[in-house]
């Protein structure tokens, strides 16, 4: 089963997105920030990471930077999520897809399917 990891500091968002994706047939785990997520991904590498941009401790871009220098994590495809428009996010790190919050079920499922394709 395809495994996804959602990293978002808001439990309610991570929970609802995870439930939607589980109904679509994915195996989904959630983590509350980038720091905890890095440790979790080193234990078990997900097929796709859905990463929030604005987070305490280690935000989305800092998490991406840490993944880039870790051979085990560098190739994991990433969907970056934020309520801020993509153009307002500093470039430098790379992400495969961008999900603008609040997103709807269809948008979420399409983004995940296309990132995994």
């Amino acid at each position: 089963m395809t495994s996804l990891l959602i990293v978002d500091d808001e439990l309610s968002i991570a929970h609802a997105a995870a439930e939607l994706l589980r109904f679509a047939g994915y195996e989904v785990a959630t983590e509350p920030n980038g720091h905890v997520a890095l440790a979790s991904m080193r234990r078990r590498r997900p097929d796709l990471l859905l990463l929030d941009y604005m987070m305490p401790v280690l935000d989305g871009l800092q998490t991406l930077a840490a993944m880039r220098v870790d051979a085990a994590l560098a190739a994991i495809p990433v969907i970056l999520m934020s309520a801020a428009p993509e153009r307002a996010i500093p470039r430098g790190e790379r992400w495969l897809r961008f999900l603008s919050k609040p997103f709807r079920e269809a948008t979420l499922l399409t983004a995940v399917a296309s990132a995994l394709a």
């Binding site: 500091d9 808001e10 439990l11 309610s12 968002i13 991570a14 929970h15 609802a16 997105a17 439930e19 939607l20 109904f23 959630t30 509350p32 920030n33 720091h35 905890v36 941009y53 604005m54 987070m55 305490p56 401790v57 935000d59 309520a83 801020a84 919050k101 609040p102 997103f103 709807r104 079920e105």
Partner: protein, 250 residues
């Protein structure tokens, strides 16, 4: 006043006016970010529930439906509490918000506040160590609860993955609430400013927020004769200590 001096004064006034306008515009962005989170949750949860109920609701365990609605309800309650606080910001600033005293046990109030965050704390892998000494006294429930809410939310956000200690202790005259996390901490150079309005510590730069929580906490406690202080260092967690007289005027 010479013409040159007058020109300089007008230029400075225009500059100040422009800075004020910039600040007001930034508030729009902050408000949108703050409201974005509960809105995102509600959109997603509604999609989740509508999609399932329209489809095969009969096959869904009732308990699952209740859990989703409870999570939605918790988000709405948190949003309501946030709005209540936003609405009294001008009165807090002016010091005119009425204080409504009632007698209650501080330990019970703290236990309730921790219970409200039980699921989030478990999810963030924050084991909570509670040390609660029963401590009845005369306080304003709204004010103390709002401060607790802010301290617990911060401990959760910045201390995820580490334990949190919450201690209520006191003597005949004074009650103390201590909330300690073991997260990213606050640099000592920032301690003097974190209780000011619109000040955000550098470690919180990429988290939505107005930078009003600690300023509001101090303003909420002031009429009760209460204080709030911090002890912290970068990467060493943070301890916030609230001290309250058992009854105002003591």
């Amino acid at each position: 006043m010479l013409a040159g001096e007058r020109r300089e004064m007008f230029a400075r006034l225009a500059e100040l006016e422009s800075e004020r306008a910039d600040h007001a515009f930034e508030l729009f962005v902050m408000a949108a970010q703050e409201l974005g989170t509960p809105l995102s949750t509600m959109v997603l949860t509604n999609e989740l529930l509508l999609g399932r109920v329209r489809g095969s609701a009969d096959e869904l365990p009732r308990q699952w439906l209740v859990e989703q609605l409870e999570m939605q309800q918790a988000v709405v309650r948190r949003m309501q509490a946030m709005m209540q606080l936003w609405l009294v910001v001008p009165q807090l600033r002016a010091g005119t918000l009425p204080t409504l005293l009632e007698t209650f046990d501080l330990a019970e109030l703290v236990a309730d506040a921790v219970e409200r965050h039980r699921e989030e704390l478990a999810w963030a892998r924050c084991a909570v160590e509670l040390e609660l000494q029963p401590l009845p006294g005369s306080w304003d429930r709204f004010r103390v609860d709002a401060v607790l809410e802010h301290l617990l939310s911060n401990a959760l956000k910045f201390g995820a993955g580490h334990p949190i200690e919450v201690i209520v202790s006191g003597d005949e005259q004074t009650a103390t609430i201590r909330v300690r996390d073991h997260g990213i901490g606050i640099a000592p150079s920032e301690h003097a400013h974190i209780f000011e309005r619109f000040v955000r510590v550098s470690s919180a730069a990429r988290v939505p927020g107005f930078g009003l929580g600690l300023w509001m906490s101090r303003a909420l406690l002031r009429p009760l004769g209460g204080t709030i202080t911090v002890k912290s260092a970068l990467q060493s967690g943070a301890t916030f200590t609230v001290t309250l007289p058992r009854a105002p005027g003591e």
